[in-house]
């Protein structure tokens, strides 16, 4: 079984400041990693994913994340945030051991990013 820990439940930042949302995972097998964003009263939208290859993954809206296997982390970063980035962000993991045939996501509890003017 795998688990995901998002270390910060809330992150307030000012507009145009950089931000890092932290995510650590635990799994006995290799994993795939994802970040989703949820705007108020909307469903989840995929920001980016790590499946294989380069450990630095770029996603939509200027976000990127780096997979660090030794630290079992997948932190999300953006160099300059906008008011419109205010949302809840979820880190998720899927077990590679299933061979990708059963795409079952385990989510963290989420981090609320609030961008202030």
């Amino acid at each position: 079984a795998q688990s995901v820990t998002q270390l910060d439940s809330q992150v307030p930042v000012f507009e145009e400041a950089p931000v890092e949302l932290r995510c650590n995972y635990s799994s006995s097998v290799s994993v795939y990693l994802f970040w989703y964003v949820q705007y108020p009263n909307q469903g989840l939208q995929l920001l980016l994913k790590y499946l294989s290859g380069s450990t630095l993954v770029k996603g939509i809206n200027g976000f990127e994340a780096e997979f660090n296997k030794s630290q079992t982390s997948f932190h999300l970063r953006k160099p300059s945030v906008h008011i419109s980035d205010t949302a809840e962000y979820f880190c998720a993991v899927s077990d590679q051991g299933s061979g990708g045939s059963n795409y079952k996501l385990t989510f963290g509890k989420g981090t609320l990013l609030t961008v202030n003017p």
Partner: protein, 115 residues
Amino acid sequence: EAGVAQSPRYKIIEKRQSVAFWCNPISGHATLYWYQQILGQGPKLLIQFQNNGVVDDSQLPKDRFSAERLKGVDSTLKIQPAKLEDSAVYLCASSRGQGTYNEQFFGPGTRLTVL
């Protein structure tokens, strides 16, 4: 391309009552998921369908929850009878197939309040 549709968007019921949620996935998507998102937590998978068959329902409380996808398209999730702890947002998602390379697309969710 139309997204995943869910209805109703909001529902308030009293405990021990019954409730049903409906989901219409993106056209052509064979895999459908129902998640429960309790306030302050991430979504938890309740049940996964591949066409009209159940792939995974290991976390579905089967004594009160049921779900069906009879024609392999839209799906309903039912709770009977509801408990206070069932208050949550119920998210439906769909994907073209089961594999990890198939992105899951989420609907807006149904917010259930049990009084």
